[in-house]
Protein backbone atom coordinates (compact mmCIF):
# COMPACT_ATOMS: atom_id res chain seq x y z
CA UNK A 1 0.00 0.00 0.00
CA UNK A 2 2.93 2.30 0.52
CA UNK A 3 4.36 1.12 -2.75
CA UNK A 4 5.26 3.89 -5.02
CA UNK A 5 6.20 6.28 -2.29
CA UNK A 6 8.77 3.79 -1.13
CA UNK A 7 9.81 3.58 -4.69
CA UNK A 8 10.16 7.33 -4.72
CA UNK A 9 12.22 7.17 -1.58
CA UNK A 10 14.14 4.28 -3.00
CA UNK A 11 14.78 6.24 -6.16
CA UNK A 12 15.99 9.25 -4.24
CA UNK A 13 18.19 7.12 -2.02
CA UNK A 14 19.69 4.86 -4.61
CA UNK A 15 21.48 7.47 -6.62
CA UNK A 16 23.60 9.07 -3.85
CA UNK A 17 24.21 5.90 -1.85
CA UNK A 18 25.22 3.80 -4.81
CA UNK A 19 27.52 6.25 -6.50
CA UNK A 20 30.78 4.43 -6.90
CA UNK A 21 29.39 0.92 -6.69
CA UNK A 22 29.33 -1.60 -9.46
CA UNK A 23 25.61 -1.39 -9.94
CA UNK A 24 25.10 2.31 -10.17
CA UNK A 25 23.89 2.65 -13.74
CA UNK A 26 21.36 -0.12 -13.82
CA UNK A 27 20.28 0.22 -10.21
CA UNK A 28 19.32 3.84 -10.70
CA UNK A 29 17.38 2.93 -13.81
CA UNK A 30 15.46 0.20 -12.02
CA UNK A 31 14.90 2.12 -8.83
CA UNK A 32 12.45 4.28 -10.77
CA UNK A 33 8.72 3.88 -10.83
CA UNK A 34 6.76 0.89 -11.93
CA UNK A 35 5.37 3.03 -14.71
CA UNK A 36 8.64 4.15 -16.21
CA UNK A 37 9.72 0.58 -16.87
CA UNK A 38 6.40 -0.60 -18.19
CA UNK A 39 6.01 2.29 -20.58
CA UNK A 40 9.38 1.67 -22.12
CA UNK A 41 8.60 -1.97 -22.79
CA UNK A 42 5.17 -1.40 -24.31
CA UNK A 43 5.46 1.70 -26.52
CA UNK A 44 1.81 2.27 -27.26
CA UNK A 45 -0.27 5.40 -26.61
CA UNK A 46 -1.37 5.65 -22.97
CA UNK A 47 -5.08 5.65 -23.84
CA UNK A 48 -4.69 2.40 -25.79
CA UNK A 49 -2.77 0.88 -22.91
CA UNK A 50 -5.63 1.82 -20.56
CA UNK A 51 -8.25 0.61 -23.01
CA UNK A 52 -6.52 -2.74 -23.26
CA UNK A 53 -6.42 -3.09 -19.47
CA UNK A 54 -10.12 -2.25 -19.20
CA UNK A 55 -10.85 -4.59 -22.11
CA UNK A 56 -9.02 -7.45 -20.38
CA UNK A 57 -11.27 -7.04 -17.33
CA UNK A 58 -14.40 -6.87 -19.49
CA UNK A 59 -13.33 -9.93 -21.47
CA UNK A 60 -12.62 -11.92 -18.34
CA UNK A 61 -16.08 -11.07 -17.04
CA UNK A 62 -17.61 -12.30 -20.30
CA UNK A 63 -15.52 -15.46 -20.20
CA UNK A 64 -16.43 -16.23 -16.59
CA UNK A 65 -20.10 -15.80 -17.50
CA UNK A 66 -19.77 -18.95 -19.63
CA UNK A 67 -19.24 -20.99 -16.48
CA UNK A 68 -22.76 -21.45 -15.16
CA UNK A 69 -22.57 -24.89 -13.59
CA UNK A 70 -23.34 -24.33 -9.91
CA UNK A 71 -22.02 -27.67 -8.80
CA UNK A 72 -18.72 -27.15 -10.58
CA UNK A 73 -18.27 -23.70 -9.05
CA UNK A 74 -19.09 -24.96 -5.57
CA UNK A 75 -16.78 -27.94 -5.79
CA UNK A 76 -14.03 -25.82 -7.25
CA UNK A 77 -14.23 -23.43 -4.31
CA UNK A 78 -14.74 -26.11 -1.71
CA UNK A 79 -11.64 -28.10 -2.69
CA UNK A 80 -9.11 -28.55 0.09
CA UNK A 81 -6.66 -30.87 1.82
CA UNK A 82 -5.85 -31.01 5.51
CA UNK A 83 -2.51 -31.76 7.09
CA UNK A 84 -1.13 -31.93 10.60
CA UNK A 85 1.85 -29.69 11.19
CA UNK A 86 4.70 -31.55 12.88
CA UNK A 87 6.37 -29.87 15.90
CA UNK A 88 3.72 -27.16 15.88
CA UNK A 89 4.54 -25.83 19.34
CA UNK A 90 8.21 -25.53 18.52
CA UNK A 91 7.43 -23.66 15.29
CA UNK A 92 5.08 -21.29 17.09
CA UNK A 93 7.69 -20.61 19.79
CA UNK A 94 10.30 -19.93 17.12
CA UNK A 95 7.85 -17.60 15.38
CA UNK A 96 7.29 -15.68 18.63
CA UNK A 97 11.04 -15.37 19.10
CA UNK A 98 11.64 -14.24 15.52
CA UNK A 99 8.98 -11.54 15.89
CA UNK A 100 10.44 -10.27 19.16
CA UNK A 101 13.99 -10.29 17.77
CA UNK A 102 12.80 -8.37 14.70
CA UNK A 103 11.09 -5.72 16.83
CA UNK A 104 14.17 -5.36 19.03
CA UNK A 105 16.37 -4.95 15.94
CA UNK A 106 14.09 -2.33 14.41
CA UNK A 107 14.07 -0.22 17.57
CA UNK A 108 17.71 -0.65 18.68
CA UNK A 109 19.29 -0.38 15.24
CA UNK A 110 16.81 2.33 14.31
CA UNK A 111 18.07 4.56 17.13
CA UNK A 112 21.71 3.47 17.37
CA UNK A 113 22.53 2.31 13.84
CA UNK A 114 23.79 4.32 10.84
CA UNK A 115 21.81 7.30 9.57
CA UNK A 116 21.84 6.34 5.90
CA UNK A 117 18.58 4.58 5.09
CA UNK A 118 20.09 1.81 2.99
CA UNK A 119 22.75 1.06 5.59
CA UNK A 120 20.30 0.81 8.48
CA UNK A 121 19.15 -2.72 9.17
CA UNK A 122 16.17 -1.54 11.23
CA UNK A 123 14.75 0.46 8.35
CA UNK A 124 15.46 -2.30 5.83
CA UNK A 125 13.83 -4.86 8.12
CA UNK A 126 10.61 -2.86 8.30
CA UNK A 127 10.24 -1.91 4.64
CA UNK A 128 12.02 -4.67 2.77
CA UNK A 129 11.75 -7.59 5.17
CA UNK A 130 8.37 -6.92 6.70
CA UNK A 131 6.22 -4.66 4.57
CA UNK A 132 7.44 -6.00 1.21
CA UNK A 133 8.62 -9.55 1.92
CA UNK A 134 6.46 -10.69 4.80
CA UNK A 135 3.28 -9.16 3.36
CA UNK A 136 3.86 -11.13 0.15
CA UNK A 137 3.93 -14.34 2.15
CA UNK A 138 0.57 -13.51 3.75
CA UNK A 139 -1.29 -13.66 0.43
CA UNK A 140 0.98 -16.05 -1.46
CA UNK A 141 1.43 -18.62 1.32
CA UNK A 142 -0.65 -17.91 4.42
CA UNK A 143 -1.08 -15.44 7.26
CA UNK A 144 1.45 -16.13 10.01
CA UNK A 145 1.20 -12.67 11.57
CA UNK A 146 -0.77 -13.85 14.63
CA UNK A 147 2.31 -15.95 15.51
CA UNK A 148 5.02 -13.48 14.48
CA UNK A 149 3.32 -10.30 15.76
CA UNK A 150 5.66 -9.26 18.60
CA UNK A 151 3.05 -7.00 20.18
CA UNK A 152 0.66 -9.90 20.40
CA UNK A 153 3.36 -12.06 22.00
CA UNK A 154 4.10 -9.34 24.55
CA UNK A 155 0.48 -8.57 25.40
CA UNK A 156 -0.40 -12.24 25.72
CA UNK A 157 2.11 -12.46 28.56
CA UNK A 158 0.80 -9.33 30.31
CA UNK A 159 -2.30 -8.95 32.50
CA UNK A 160 -5.37 -7.39 30.89
CA UNK A 161 -8.48 -5.60 32.12
CA UNK A 162 -10.57 -7.65 29.64
CA UNK A 163 -13.16 -4.94 29.12
CA UNK A 164 -15.77 -5.70 26.48
CA UNK A 165 -14.87 -4.17 23.15
CA UNK A 166 -17.89 -2.03 22.13
CA UNK A 167 -19.69 -3.77 19.27
CA UNK A 168 -20.65 -0.52 17.61
CA UNK A 169 -16.95 0.30 17.06
CA UNK A 170 -16.51 -2.84 14.94
CA UNK A 171 -13.75 -2.50 12.38
CA UNK A 172 -13.99 1.31 12.22
CA UNK A 173 -10.91 1.96 14.41
CA UNK A 174 -8.86 -0.26 12.13
CA UNK A 175 -10.12 1.50 8.98
CA UNK A 176 -9.30 4.91 10.47
CA UNK A 177 -5.97 3.54 11.72
CA UNK A 178 -5.07 2.28 8.25
CA UNK A 179 -5.84 5.62 6.61
CA UNK A 180 -3.86 7.41 9.34
CA UNK A 181 -0.82 5.16 8.87
CA UNK A 182 -0.84 5.78 5.12
CA UNK A 183 -1.20 9.51 5.61
CA UNK A 184 1.79 9.44 7.95
CA UNK A 185 3.80 7.40 5.47
CA UNK A 186 3.05 9.76 2.60
CA UNK A 187 3.66 13.06 4.37
CA UNK A 188 6.68 12.08 6.48
CA UNK A 189 10.12 10.68 5.56
CA UNK A 190 9.25 7.40 7.27
CA UNK A 191 11.14 5.38 4.66
CA UNK A 192 14.28 7.55 4.87
CA UNK A 193 14.75 8.27 8.53
CA UNK A 194 15.54 5.29 10.80
CA UNK A 195 15.02 7.36 14.00
CA UNK A 196 11.60 8.55 12.92
CA UNK A 197 10.63 5.02 11.90
CA UNK A 198 11.76 3.55 15.23
CA UNK A 199 9.83 6.29 17.06
CA UNK A 200 6.73 5.53 14.99
CA UNK A 201 7.04 1.81 15.74
CA UNK A 202 7.28 2.63 19.45
CA UNK A 203 4.25 4.93 19.16
CA UNK A 204 2.24 2.24 17.40
CA UNK A 205 3.47 -0.24 20.02
CA UNK A 206 2.31 2.01 22.88
CA UNK A 207 -1.19 2.37 21.41
CA UNK A 208 -1.36 -1.37 20.71
CA UNK A 209 -0.16 -2.39 24.18
CA UNK A 210 -2.62 0.01 25.81
CA UNK A 211 -5.50 -1.22 23.66
CA UNK A 212 -4.67 -4.87 24.25
CA UNK A 213 -4.28 -4.24 27.98
CA UNK A 214 -7.79 -2.74 28.17
CA UNK A 215 -9.71 -5.07 25.82
CA UNK A 216 -7.50 -8.16 25.85
CA UNK A 217 -5.20 -9.14 22.98
CA UNK A 218 -7.73 -11.41 21.27
CA UNK A 219 -10.37 -8.71 20.92
CA UNK A 220 -7.87 -5.97 20.15
CA UNK A 221 -6.14 -7.79 17.30
CA UNK A 222 -9.41 -9.18 15.96
CA UNK A 223 -11.18 -5.81 15.78
CA UNK A 224 -9.23 -2.64 16.35
CA UNK A 225 -5.67 -3.23 15.15
CA UNK A 226 -5.29 -2.19 11.48
CA UNK A 227 -2.10 -4.16 10.83
CA UNK A 228 -3.48 -7.49 12.06
CA UNK A 229 -6.59 -6.92 9.97
CA UNK A 230 -4.61 -6.18 6.81
CA UNK A 231 -2.70 -9.44 7.16
CA UNK A 232 -5.80 -11.43 8.11
CA UNK A 233 -7.59 -10.18 4.99
CA UNK A 234 -4.58 -10.81 2.77
CA UNK A 235 -4.38 -14.29 4.30
CA UNK A 236 -7.82 -15.00 2.89
CA UNK A 237 -6.35 -14.88 -0.60
CA UNK A 238 -3.62 -17.39 0.32
CA UNK A 239 -3.64 -21.14 -0.34
CA UNK A 240 -2.76 -22.11 3.25
CA UNK A 241 -4.89 -21.52 6.31
CA UNK A 242 -5.23 -22.87 9.81
CA UNK A 243 -8.43 -24.57 10.81
CA UNK A 244 -9.35 -22.91 14.10
CA UNK A 245 -11.26 -25.93 15.39
CA UNK A 246 -8.75 -28.69 14.70
CA UNK A 247 -5.52 -26.69 14.56
CA UNK A 248 -4.71 -28.43 11.28
CA UNK A 249 -3.23 -26.76 8.27
CA UNK A 250 -5.57 -26.57 5.30
CA UNK A 251 -4.57 -26.27 1.66
CA UNK A 252 -7.09 -24.64 -0.70
CA UNK A 253 -7.07 -22.99 -4.09
CA UNK A 254 -5.76 -19.40 -3.93
CA UNK A 255 -8.64 -16.95 -3.57
CA UNK A 256 -11.23 -19.68 -3.17
CA UNK A 257 -12.00 -18.63 0.41
CA UNK A 258 -13.02 -15.16 -0.77
CA UNK A 259 -16.51 -16.39 -1.63
CA UNK A 260 -17.20 -17.10 2.03
CA UNK A 261 -20.16 -15.01 3.14
CA UNK A 262 -18.82 -14.76 6.68
CA UNK A 263 -15.58 -13.08 5.71
CA UNK A 264 -17.00 -9.55 5.62
CA UNK A 265 -20.11 -9.22 7.75
CA UNK A 266 -20.66 -5.56 8.39
CA UNK A 267 -20.45 -2.14 6.79
CA UNK A 268 -17.37 -1.43 8.90
CA UNK A 269 -15.53 -4.35 7.31
CA UNK A 270 -16.57 -3.25 3.83
CA UNK A 271 -15.14 0.15 4.75
CA UNK A 272 -11.84 -1.46 5.68
CA UNK A 273 -11.57 -3.46 2.45
CA UNK A 274 -12.29 -0.33 0.40
CA UNK A 275 -9.68 1.55 2.45
CA UNK A 276 -7.11 -1.14 1.68
CA UNK A 277 -7.77 -0.73 -2.05
CA UNK A 278 -7.88 3.07 -1.90
CA UNK A 279 -4.63 3.62 0.00
CA UNK A 280 -2.63 1.93 -2.79
CA UNK A 281 -4.17 4.30 -5.28
CA UNK A 282 -3.68 7.36 -3.08
CA UNK A 283 -0.06 6.53 -2.53
CA UNK A 284 0.54 6.33 -6.27
CA UNK A 285 -1.70 9.28 -7.12
CA UNK A 286 0.24 11.84 -5.07
CA UNK A 287 3.39 10.93 -7.05
CA UNK A 288 1.89 11.80 -10.45
CA UNK A 289 2.59 15.05 -12.34
CA UNK A 290 -1.19 15.67 -12.44
CA UNK A 291 -1.31 15.76 -8.66
CA UNK A 292 1.71 18.05 -8.59
CA UNK A 293 -0.07 20.47 -10.90
CA UNK A 294 -3.31 20.26 -8.94
CA UNK A 295 -1.57 20.65 -5.57
CA UNK A 296 0.45 23.63 -6.81
CA UNK A 297 -2.72 25.30 -8.03
CA UNK A 298 -4.79 24.63 -4.93
CA UNK A 299 -2.01 25.69 -2.55
CA UNK A 300 -1.67 28.84 -4.68
CA UNK A 301 -5.36 29.51 -4.07
CA UNK A 302 -4.64 29.43 -0.34
CA UNK A 303 -5.26 25.89 0.92
CA UNK A 304 -2.43 24.87 3.28
CA UNK A 305 -0.62 21.61 2.30
CA UNK A 306 -1.16 20.30 5.83
CA UNK A 307 -4.89 20.29 5.06
CA UNK A 308 -4.61 19.27 1.41
CA UNK A 309 -3.09 15.82 1.92
CA UNK A 310 -5.46 14.48 4.60
CA UNK A 311 -8.43 16.12 2.82
CA UNK A 312 -7.51 14.38 -0.44
CA UNK A 313 -7.07 11.10 1.44
CA UNK A 314 -10.55 11.34 2.96
CA UNK A 315 -12.26 12.73 -0.16
CA UNK A 316 -10.79 10.03 -2.39
CA UNK A 317 -11.73 7.37 0.11
CA UNK A 318 -15.33 8.59 0.22
CA UNK A 319 -15.41 8.64 -3.60
CA UNK A 320 -14.18 5.03 -3.70
CA UNK A 321 -16.66 3.95 -1.09
CA UNK A 322 -19.45 5.81 -2.88
CA UNK A 323 -18.61 4.17 -6.21
CA UNK A 324 -18.59 0.75 -4.59
CA UNK A 325 -21.89 1.42 -2.84
CA UNK A 326 -23.50 2.55 -6.10
CA UNK A 327 -22.26 -0.65 -7.73
CA UNK A 328 -23.91 -2.70 -4.99
CA UNK A 329 -27.14 -0.74 -5.44
CA UNK A 330 -26.97 -1.25 -9.19
CA UNK A 331 -26.42 -4.97 -8.67
CA UNK A 332 -29.56 -5.15 -6.56
CA UNK A 333 -31.57 -3.44 -9.27
CA UNK A 334 -30.12 -5.32 -12.25
CA UNK A 335 -30.47 -8.69 -10.54
CA UNK A 336 -34.05 -7.82 -9.63
CA UNK A 337 -33.27 -8.90 -6.10
CA UNK A 338 -34.64 -7.92 -2.69
CA UNK A 339 -31.35 -8.62 -0.94
CA UNK A 340 -30.35 -5.37 0.76
CA UNK A 341 -27.63 -3.21 -0.78
CA UNK A 342 -25.66 -3.58 2.43
CA UNK A 343 -25.62 -7.39 2.25
CA UNK A 344 -24.55 -7.25 -1.40
CA UNK A 345 -21.80 -4.75 -0.55
CA UNK A 346 -20.56 -7.17 2.10
CA UNK A 347 -20.77 -10.17 -0.16
CA UNK A 348 -18.79 -8.68 -3.02
CA UNK A 349 -16.12 -6.90 -0.94
CA UNK A 350 -13.75 -9.89 -0.42
CA UNK A 351 -12.91 -10.19 -4.16
CA UNK A 352 -11.39 -6.71 -3.88
CA UNK A 353 -8.72 -8.24 -1.64
CA UNK A 354 -7.38 -10.20 -4.62
CA UNK A 355 -6.98 -6.87 -6.42
CA UNK A 356 -5.18 -5.34 -3.45
CA UNK A 357 -2.84 -8.34 -3.31
CA UNK A 358 -2.11 -8.05 -7.04
CA UNK A 359 -1.13 -4.41 -6.63
CA UNK A 360 1.00 -5.14 -3.63
CA UNK A 361 2.93 -7.81 -5.53
CA UNK A 362 3.35 -5.52 -8.54
CA UNK A 363 4.70 -2.74 -6.33
CA UNK A 364 6.94 -4.77 -4.08
CA UNK A 365 8.39 -7.86 -5.73
CA UNK A 366 10.95 -5.83 -7.65
CA UNK A 367 11.59 -3.63 -4.63
CA UNK A 368 12.11 -6.68 -2.44
CA UNK A 369 14.45 -8.42 -4.87
CA UNK A 370 16.59 -5.34 -5.40
CA UNK A 371 16.90 -4.37 -1.73
CA UNK A 372 17.08 -7.79 -0.05
CA UNK A 373 20.84 -8.04 -0.78
CA UNK A 374 21.33 -4.73 1.01
CA UNK A 375 19.53 -6.07 4.07
CA UNK A 376 21.65 -9.23 4.05
CA UNK A 377 24.85 -7.21 3.64
CA UNK A 378 24.21 -4.95 6.63
CA UNK A 379 22.87 -7.74 8.87
CA UNK A 380 26.26 -8.94 10.24
CA UNK A 381 27.25 -5.48 11.50
CA UNK A 382 23.94 -3.74 12.20
CA UNK A 383 25.26 -0.95 14.42
CA UNK A 384 28.28 0.12 12.40
CA UNK A 385 26.85 -0.23 8.90
CA UNK A 386 28.31 -2.26 6.02
CA UNK A 387 31.98 -3.17 6.43
CA UNK A 388 32.96 -2.08 2.93
CA UNK A 389 31.05 1.18 3.05
CA UNK A 390 28.97 0.03 0.09
CA UNK A 391 25.62 -1.71 -0.09
CA UNK A 392 24.88 -4.24 -2.83
CA UNK A 393 21.64 -3.77 -4.70
CA UNK A 394 20.08 -6.52 -6.77
CA UNK A 395 19.32 -5.72 -10.39
CA UNK A 396 16.16 -7.15 -11.91
CA UNK A 397 15.87 -7.78 -15.66
CA UNK A 398 14.02 -5.34 -17.89
CA UNK A 399 11.00 -7.56 -18.45
CA UNK A 400 9.99 -7.09 -14.82
CA UNK A 401 7.88 -4.09 -15.87
CA UNK A 402 5.67 -6.41 -17.92
CA UNK A 403 5.60 -8.93 -15.08
CA UNK A 404 4.32 -6.26 -12.71
CA UNK A 405 1.47 -5.41 -15.07
CA UNK A 406 0.68 -9.12 -15.21
CA UNK A 407 0.34 -9.23 -11.40
CA UNK A 408 -2.08 -6.30 -11.52
CA UNK A 409 -4.19 -8.02 -14.17
CA UNK A 410 -4.04 -11.39 -12.40
CA UNK A 411 -5.38 -9.80 -9.21
CA UNK A 412 -8.29 -8.37 -11.19
CA UNK A 413 -8.99 -11.64 -12.97
CA UNK A 414 -9.08 -13.53 -9.70
CA UNK A 415 -11.43 -10.89 -8.32
CA UNK A 416 -13.77 -11.21 -11.32
CA UNK A 417 -13.88 -14.98 -10.94
CA UNK A 418 -14.42 -14.91 -7.18
CA UNK A 419 -17.21 -12.35 -7.52
CA UNK A 420 -18.79 -14.56 -10.17
CA UNK A 421 -18.67 -17.56 -7.83
CA UNK A 422 -20.03 -15.49 -4.92
CA UNK A 423 -22.91 -14.30 -7.13
CA UNK A 424 -23.78 -17.89 -8.01
CA UNK A 425 -23.75 -18.72 -4.33
CA UNK A 426 -25.95 -15.77 -3.48
CA UNK A 427 -28.62 -15.69 -6.21
CA UNK A 428 -30.95 -18.53 -7.22
CA UNK A 429 -31.11 -17.47 -10.89
CA UNK A 430 -28.01 -18.05 -13.01
CA UNK A 431 -28.78 -15.18 -15.36
CA UNK A 432 -29.63 -13.11 -12.29
CA UNK A 433 -26.17 -13.87 -10.85
CA UNK A 434 -24.48 -12.78 -14.07
CA UNK A 435 -26.54 -9.57 -14.25
CA UNK A 436 -25.61 -8.71 -10.67
CA UNK A 437 -21.99 -8.44 -11.80
CA UNK A 438 -22.52 -5.77 -14.48
CA UNK A 439 -22.02 -2.81 -12.16
CA UNK A 440 -19.20 -4.40 -10.18
CA UNK A 441 -17.40 -5.19 -13.42
CA UNK A 442 -17.89 -1.62 -14.58
CA UNK A 443 -16.40 -0.30 -11.34
CA UNK A 444 -13.48 -2.71 -11.68
CA UNK A 445 -12.84 -1.60 -15.26
CA UNK A 446 -12.77 2.05 -14.13
CA UNK A 447 -10.50 1.15 -11.23
CA UNK A 448 -8.11 -0.82 -13.44
CA UNK A 449 -7.87 1.99 -15.92
CA UNK A 450 -7.24 4.54 -13.17
CA UNK A 451 -4.54 2.36 -11.62
CA UNK A 452 -2.88 1.62 -14.94
CA UNK A 453 -2.93 5.34 -15.68
CA UNK A 454 -1.15 5.98 -12.38
CA UNK A 455 1.53 3.37 -13.05
CA UNK A 456 1.99 4.72 -16.58
CA UNK A 457 2.81 8.17 -15.22
CA UNK A 458 6.36 9.22 -14.40
CA UNK A 459 6.81 9.15 -10.63
CA UNK A 460 7.57 12.55 -9.13
CA UNK A 461 8.16 13.64 -5.55
CA UNK A 462 4.87 14.82 -4.00
CA UNK A 463 5.05 18.62 -3.62
CA UNK A 464 4.97 20.60 -0.34
CA UNK A 465 6.22 17.76 1.86
Amino acid sequence: MVGSSLRRHCCRLLVPVLAGTLFVGTAAAHGGSLGAGSRESIRIPTWLFLLTGGGAIGASFLLSSFVTDRLFIREFHGWGRDAVVPARRLLVALGHLAGLAGLAAVVVVGFLGPDAALANLGLLLVWVGWWAGFTMTTYLVGNSWPILNPFRTITSALPTLDRDYPDRFGAWPSAVGLLALIWLEVVSPLADDPRLLATTVLGYGAVTLAGAAVFGPTQWFADADPVARVFRYYGRVAPLTRDDDTGRLRLRLPGSALTDARLVDGLDEVAFVVALVWVTTYDGLVATPLWRGFATWIVGVGVPPAVLYPAALVAGYLAFFGAYWLAARGARRLADSYVSTRVLAQRFAPPLLAIAAGYHLAHYLEYFLSLAPAALAVAPTPLSGPATGEVPIGVVPGWFGALNLTFVLLGHLLAIWVAHAAAFDRFPGRLQAIRSQYTFTLVMICYTMTSLWIVSQPSVTPPFL
Partner: protein
Protein backbone atom coordinates in the same frame (compact mmCIF):
# COMPACT_ATOMS: atom_id res chain seq x y z
CA UNK B 1 -32.01 -17.90 4.85
CA UNK B 2 -31.31 -19.51 8.17
CA UNK B 3 -34.21 -19.17 10.56
CA UNK B 4 -36.60 -21.68 9.04
CA UNK B 5 -38.41 -22.48 12.25
CA UNK B 6 -39.20 -18.97 13.49
CA UNK B 7 -42.81 -17.91 13.60
CA UNK B 8 -44.12 -14.58 12.44
CA UNK B 9 -44.90 -12.79 15.68
CA UNK B 10 -42.44 -9.94 15.05
CA UNK B 11 -44.38 -7.06 13.56
CA UNK B 12 -43.52 -5.19 10.41
CA UNK B 13 -41.63 -7.68 8.28
CA UNK B 14 -44.01 -10.60 8.41
CA UNK B 15 -46.14 -11.31 5.38
CA UNK B 16 -49.06 -13.68 5.57
CA UNK B 17 -48.65 -16.92 7.45
CA UNK B 18 -45.14 -17.91 6.31
CA UNK B 19 -41.92 -17.36 8.20
CA UNK B 20 -40.77 -13.78 8.62
CA UNK B 21 -38.54 -12.15 6.06
CA UNK B 22 -34.89 -12.34 7.18
CA UNK B 23 -32.97 -9.15 7.96
CA UNK B 24 -30.75 -9.40 4.93
CA UNK B 25 -33.66 -8.48 2.66
CA UNK B 26 -34.89 -4.98 2.14
CA UNK B 27 -38.25 -4.74 0.41
CA UNK B 28 -39.26 -1.61 -1.47
CA UNK B 29 -42.59 -0.23 -0.18
CA UNK B 30 -44.50 -1.15 -3.36
CA UNK B 31 -43.06 -4.67 -3.60
CA UNK B 32 -45.27 -7.68 -4.10
CA UNK B 33 -42.81 -10.47 -3.42
CA UNK B 34 -43.12 -14.22 -3.83
CA UNK B 35 -42.08 -15.42 -0.39
CA UNK B 36 -40.44 -18.74 0.34
CA UNK B 37 -42.57 -20.80 2.73
CA UNK B 38 -39.47 -22.47 4.18
CA UNK B 39 -37.24 -19.54 5.04
CA UNK B 40 -39.16 -16.35 4.28
CA UNK B 41 -36.82 -15.17 1.53
CA UNK B 42 -38.69 -12.79 -0.81
CA UNK B 43 -38.27 -12.85 -4.60
CA UNK B 44 -39.36 -10.51 -7.32
CA UNK B 45 -41.03 -13.25 -9.34
CA UNK B 46 -42.31 -16.77 -8.98
CA UNK B 47 -39.61 -18.29 -11.15
CA UNK B 48 -36.80 -17.07 -8.90
CA UNK B 49 -38.68 -18.47 -5.91
CA UNK B 50 -39.04 -21.83 -7.66
CA UNK B 51 -35.31 -21.87 -8.44
CA UNK B 52 -34.48 -20.87 -4.86
CA UNK B 53 -36.62 -23.70 -3.48
CA UNK B 54 -34.93 -26.21 -5.76
CA UNK B 55 -31.44 -25.09 -4.75
CA UNK B 56 -31.72 -24.26 -1.06
CA UNK B 57 -34.54 -26.57 0.04
CA UNK B 58 -34.02 -29.45 -2.35
CA UNK B 59 -34.80 -32.03 0.35
CA UNK B 60 -38.15 -30.50 1.25
CA UNK B 61 -39.67 -30.41 -2.26
CA UNK B 62 -42.86 -32.27 -3.18
CA UNK B 63 -43.37 -33.68 -6.69
CA UNK B 64 -45.10 -30.64 -8.14
CA UNK B 65 -42.47 -28.31 -6.74
CA UNK B 66 -39.75 -30.53 -8.18
CA UNK B 67 -41.41 -30.41 -11.60
CA UNK B 68 -41.75 -26.65 -11.35
CA UNK B 69 -38.05 -26.37 -10.50
CA UNK B 70 -37.02 -28.51 -13.45
CA UNK B 71 -39.19 -26.45 -15.79
CA UNK B 72 -37.80 -23.18 -14.48
CA UNK B 73 -34.25 -24.50 -14.71
CA UNK B 74 -34.86 -25.59 -18.28
CA UNK B 75 -36.42 -22.29 -19.32
CA UNK B 76 -33.48 -20.46 -17.74
CA UNK B 77 -31.12 -22.62 -19.78
CA UNK B 78 -32.76 -21.31 -22.95
CA UNK B 79 -32.20 -17.73 -21.90
CA UNK B 80 -28.65 -18.52 -20.83
CA UNK B 81 -27.97 -19.89 -24.28
CA UNK B 82 -29.04 -16.65 -25.91
CA UNK B 83 -27.01 -14.69 -23.34
CA UNK B 84 -23.93 -16.75 -24.20
CA UNK B 85 -24.35 -15.96 -27.86
CA UNK B 86 -24.45 -12.26 -27.05
CA UNK B 87 -21.44 -12.60 -24.76
CA UNK B 88 -19.54 -14.40 -27.49
CA UNK B 89 -20.46 -11.64 -29.91
CA UNK B 90 -19.22 -9.04 -27.44
CA UNK B 91 -15.94 -10.92 -27.01
CA UNK B 92 -15.38 -11.13 -30.75
CA UNK B 93 -16.20 -7.45 -31.09
CA UNK B 94 -13.82 -6.55 -28.29
CA UNK B 95 -11.04 -8.69 -29.75
CA UNK B 96 -11.27 -7.36 -33.27
CA UNK B 97 -11.96 -3.84 -32.07
CA UNK B 98 -8.70 -3.87 -30.11
CA UNK B 99 -6.87 -5.62 -32.93
CA UNK B 100 -7.89 -2.96 -35.43
CA UNK B 101 -7.17 -0.16 -32.96
CA UNK B 102 -3.69 -1.59 -32.42
CA UNK B 103 -3.05 -1.89 -36.13
CA UNK B 104 -3.91 1.78 -36.54
CA UNK B 105 -2.34 3.40 -33.47
CA UNK B 106 0.44 1.18 -32.20
Amino acid sequence: MTDTTQSTDRSGTATGDGPEIPDEYDLPPDADPSVCAHCGAPFADEELLVLHRGIDHADALDDSERDAFEDAYESERERLRSFRLKALGALVLLYFGLLITYSVFA
